[in-house]
Amino acid sequence: MQHDPAAERYVEALFDVAEEHDELDAVASDLQDFVDLLEETGQLRLFLRSFRVPASDKVKVFRDVFEGKMNQHLLNTIALMLQHQRAESIEEVADLFAERVKAHRNIVTVQANTGTRMSENMRGQVKTSLEEALEKTVELVESVDESLQGGLRLRIGNTVYDGTIAHQLEKLREQLS
């Protein structure tokens, strides 16, 4: 959706630092863990987000709790964000960072909707042919939708490749009417 330009800046900076120190995986997983934690403990989130709490207190508490428990560079980034009262952008930073890492590693996410569950064999076939066509590593996100009746629908970014039975039937209906 629409990104906060500030979040993009933090991501870019964090990514550069992490790459320099070859810590991309560590930062990515720690960041995801931290966001999960925020999700679970509402109080922590409220505390970090509240504008009534002075920024310095937030930074202090945060450092006390997480010092040594997460990647140092990530810790510094989040502390910096708290200092600037930007706690509400943390989730977005996490999403963008994950995306950024994927783009860096030439990984593309493809959503695959099928009418019935794909067999292991088929999944492999779809994946390899997609990888050949896109010249990128493909990460398949599958979902089964029975209303499609059969066939396969792929969504890569904003482009949909529709080869489902439901779509063919719809087209046939249009042609015959």
Binding site: M1, R155, N158, T159, V160, Y161, D162, K171, Q175, L176
Partner: protein, 557 residues
């Protein structure tokens, strides 16, 4: 019957067999927010301006606002059928409408779907709704008349084919009536008519359709309706759809007349859209491009040039052109060249043929409704400045019984004069001046009774002229009849009659002309000019009629 069922089955089989089962590639986006007939869509990165996009539940929309992080889409259907998160598909086509001659006699909505329950329409082709107006070189000045059948208009505010003449006035003063009368008057001509109803009550549109049907005018008329209950985007689209339809006729060398009823409501619809799309408001909260919108629309009305070729005598085919040259008669050099080349090739063995699909025209009669006669509001001034003249209707005249209630003083036709029939110009030459003088004297004459003879004379004349300009609704008159009636008025034959007699004069005189002097009417309609002899003869006829008319009067008394 059995055979037929078989045939159908095999046909279906064929179609299914040849059905293309390849994968389809679509570009999609997702609805972020929806409401008030507007959807904001994320994605659709390569969408074109005014491209048609497809929502679920058979709702379509038009992409109007292309912004950095989202696309503003106006919906042509109900916004309650669209939900946040719905997938929106590009169609790759800009908004189009089907055109063709088969639309004559139909009532359709702005995207070409029939509203009259008479079944599907077979269109010849589809054309984008928003098209560029023809350029300078393919046009020619207005030169053929488009008769409205109204004495007051055809005599003083003549309209030519390809002209844009504004009909402006308060509510309930007969604006639509002028448009409808003009359509009815095109019955035995080669002009196709399009009536675009924008934001009107559906019952009013139904009434207009009924009137047109009763007068046999629906055969050559298409009604495009986006009534008040329709979403604003459809109302915004309606006049453009009408113009596209009219252009189909124009581009095929035919003539068309389009009435936009009315552009005030069109401006409202566009204002609503623009404000909902968060475009900045300007004067009267209209968006900055409202002038561009209307000028773009009205500029599409035009008279296209005619092209001619020289072919061997007897040939009907323009492909047989002897020298491959195309001539334009309205350009002096080209007309001269045509004359010379024809001379050279031999006039006996060759002739001039008009190229098909050239010389078509689209005449536009936009209607604007003013509030309490305020012509200096934003939209009226805009449209006045775009059009080639205006017919201004005023309530005062309307309620005093002067109908059509045209204010002759400020109604003008800036280009129609060239197109006016000669005979009409001859009889109505002094009309405008006489009426102007009458109006000037009228107010001042109310103070005293001791007026000199010339003034008295002018007052009588003016009163009688106003009387003959009155005309009933749905009864347009052919040119020759208008000419003889106005002739009687401007030549002063009616000065001797009382006002009540003048009112009775017209129908009886026309009946007399039809029964006793049909040849005279025919002559005027054919020659389109009043020679001195014809004038004298006509004068005698009027005088003779007035003698019998006066006698009848005495008998009646």
């Amino acid at each position: 019957m059995e055979i037929k069922a078989d045939e159908i089955t095999s046909l279906l089989k064929q179609q299914i067999e040849s059905f293309d089962v390849s994968m389809d590639v679509d570009e999609v986006g997702e609805v972020i927010s929806v409401g008030d007939g507007i959807a904001r869509v994320y994605g659709l990165e390569n969408v074109m301006a005014s491209e048609l996009v497809q929502f679920p539940n058979d709702v379509v929309g038009m992409a109007l606002n292309l912004e950095e992080d989202n696309v503003g889409v106006v919906l042509f259907g109900e916004s309650r059928d669209v939900n946040e998160g719905d997938v929106v598909k590009r169609t790759g086509r800009v908004v189009e409408i089907g055109v063709g001659e088969s639309v004559a006699g139909r009532v359709i909505n702005p995207i070409g779907r029939p509203l009259d329950g008479k079944g599907d329409i077979e269109f010849t082709e589809r054309r984008p709704v928003e098209r560029k107006a023809p350029g300078v070189m393919v046009r020619q000045p207005v030169k053929e008349p488009l008769m409205t059948g109204l004495k007051a208009v055809d005599s003083m505010i003549p309209i030519g084919r390809g002209q844009r003449e504004l009909i402006i006035g308060d509510r309930q003063v007969g604006k639509t009536a002028i448009g409808v009368d003009t359509i009815i008057n095109q019955r035995d001509t080669d002009v196709y008519c399009i009536y675009v109803a924008i934001g009107q009550k559906a019952s009013t549109v139904a009434q207009v359709v009924k009137v047109l049907e009763d007068n046999g005018a629906m055969d050559y008329t298409t009604v495009i309706s986006a009534s008040a209950s329709e979403p604003a985007p459809l109302q915004y689209l309606a006049p453009f759809a009408g113009a596209t339809l009219g252009e189909y006729f124009r581009d095929n060398g035919k003539h068309a007349l389009i009435i936009y009823d009315d552009l005030t409501k069109h401006a409202w619809a566009y204002r609503q859209l623009s404000l909902l799309l968060r475009r900045p408001p300007g004067r009267e909260a209209y968006p900055g491009d409202i002038f561009y919108l209307h000028s773009r629309l009205l500029e599409r009305a035009s008279k296209l040039e005619e092209k001619y070729v020289i072919v061997p005598k007897g040939s009907e085919n323009v492909e047989d052109s002897v020298n491959g040259k195309e001539y334009r008669k309205h350009i002096e050099d080209s007309a001269e060249a045509l004359e010379n080349d024809l001379e050279e090739l031999g006039k006996e063995s060759h002739e001039v043929l008009k190229l098909p699909k050239t010389g078509g025209s689209l005449t536009a009669l936009p209607i604007i409704e003013t509030q309490q006669g305020d012509v200096s509001a934003y939209i009226p001034t805009n449209v006045i400045s775009i059009t080639d003249g205006q017919i201004y209707l005023v309530p005062d005249l309307f309620y005093s019984g002067q109908r059509p209630a045209i204010d002759v003083g400020i109604s003008v036709s800036r280009v129609g004069g060239n197109a006016q029939v000669r005979a009409m110009r001859q009889v109505s030459g002094s009309l405008k001046l006489d009426l102007a003088q009458y109006r000037e004297l009228e107010s001042f004459a109310q103070f005293g009774s001791d007026l000199d003879k010339a003034t008295q004379q002018q007052l009588t004349r003016g009163e009688r002229l106003y009387e003959i300009l009155k005309q009933k609704q749905y009864s347009p008159l052919p040119m020759e009849k208008q000419v003889v009636v106005i002739f009687a008025g401007t030549e002063g034959y009616l000065d001797k009659l009382s006002i009540e007699q003048v009112e009775r004069f017209e129908p009886e005189f026309l009946e007399y002309m039809e029964t006793q002097h049909a040849d005279m009417l025919e002559k005027i309609s054919e020659e389109k000019i009043l020679s001195d002899e014809l004038k004298e003869e006509l004068g005698n006829i009027v005088e003779h009629f007035l003698e019998t008319f006066a006698i009848e009067e005495e008998e009646a008394a």
